[in-house]
Symmetry: C2
Subunit: 267 residues, 2 copies
């Protein structure tokens, strides 16, 4: 009888999978672990080298490695030789042997608002989890510096994770959270937003190697192409934390209707 | 006077940028060039090595190289050391010095229907072009073999490119076209579809290297999780060419409304 009652009282501890794209050695992932580690059983599986800009890449042509590492006392941590998406797949299949209750990615050093979501390794890990019915959140701080102040990022990461864990989350929930740079006191709150149409005006820098052959570095100037107040770029420019719910269904339904009506698909 | 009238008669020749993710040496890209080369001025910029599964990856940590190569008589061709997305960016900025009228990617050796669109290097090149206001089409043949029969793929690629070039295309038009394997005569036509919710049940194969250390190969079993007749998977299973219009706005608008209503974002 006693045993039964004690079992009843035991609250299920959520399993929290944490990954990122800046690798295990980036300060951002430590800050994320610290922000949430008392909310459940945290397991870390993150890339062994920086994977920024990897989009939704998976490793097909090479085998993958996993190594157990010590990152922080009391937190099971693994280093993975693959991409952020590989980390999520391997964590579920070979480390957890189950789906975690939530998957968190980040905290990224640098913004992932607007079109950045599509190039982002941080967000690709979160999107991969959501495809697998694991609610997920990617966090990015708008500060590239290794010495960035993560106070605000940690505060809002915890707040948002608590909210999602406290509800029966949508099974494909995936949030793209960006936190403005600067003093936590200056942040006005959280704003649920949509992805702005903003992009980079590319400009490859051309150089010559010691033997005179050309090579190119990708550079670009960020351009925000809309001023609407419901976008993530607006929220961040106005010192809100932006939360954009993200989906993996890429179908353009409006264009689908138009194609069915206006195009002739016969030879 | 004569000069003016001759200028009037000159029809603008469309610039057609062609890329892929299987690299310049794959038969698929040659078939695509052959299918459309008399429809405009074709310029090829494709990866120098296979880039399957690269998702929307871009190269940040390394510089990129471009080399002029001979692929086919009368077709300007370049080999690029980067990802399919890098190829599109470099082609516009450093080779064409203008936006092409259309960007074609493929013909991929293997399917890119349903969730594959998100991992696909072929489709990432097409999506990148559409972000840059360049109408684009990715083509994939459901046959991995190097000796695959591209007759049907070539026929429908040409038909679809002609259709898109003949209209004032939507500025962000991006089509994900998949062609069933098999005899061209058996194909029933083109079906505009939506992305099916289908995914892979992952199963990493565990092996040991000669020194006894574990490594993993990504494998997986494809699972179609819906039977609806408006999906790309249904179209292909029923011998239609599937055409899915694709977008790069990942905002989940339904979930956005729910988040605004049901969640409290305050500490």
């Amino acid at each position: 009888m006693k045993k039964k009652s004690s079992a009843k009282k035991t609250k299920k501890v959520p399993v929290i999978l944490i990954t990122n794209d800046d690798s295990l050695t980036a300060p951002g992932i430590r800050h994320l672990i610290e922000a949430v580690k008392d909310l459940g059983r945290v397991v870390v599986v993150a890339p062994d080298k920086p994977q920024s800009g990897m989009g939704h890449a998976i490793t097909i042509g090479f085998p993958l490695r996993l190594h157990k590492v010590h990152l922080m006392d009391g937190v099971e941590s693994w280093s993975c030789s693959g991409t952020p998406v590989d980390c999520v797949k391997l964590a579920v299949d070979k480390i957890l042997h189950q789906k975690p209750d939530i998957c968190l990615s980040g905290i990224n050093h640098g913004a992932n608002h607007s079109i950045n979501v599509i190039y982002s390794g941080t967000m690709s890990a979160a999107i991969e989890a959501s495809i697998e019915n694991i609610p997920s959140i990617g966090f990015s701080l708008m500060d590239y510096s290794l010495e960035a102040d993560f106070t605000a990022a940690k505060k809002y990461a915890r707040l948002i994770v608590e909210q999602v864990l406290s509800k029966k989350a949508d099974k494909h929930l995936c949030l793209n959270v960006n936190i403005p740079k600067g003093d936590v006191e200056l942040i006005k709150g959280v704003k649920v937003s949509r992805q702005a149409y903003a992009k980079y005006e590319e400009d490859f820098e051309e150089r010559k190697d010691p033997s005179g052959k050309k090579y190119y570095w990708l550079t670009g100037i960020f351009q925000n192409l809309e001023k609407s107040k419901d976008t993530d770029v607006w929220a961040l420019e106005n010192n809100f934390v932006s939360v954009v719910p993200v989906q993996y269904d890429l179908t353009n339904h409006l264009l689908k209707t138009k194609l069915e009506k206006d195009y002739t698909w016969k030879s």
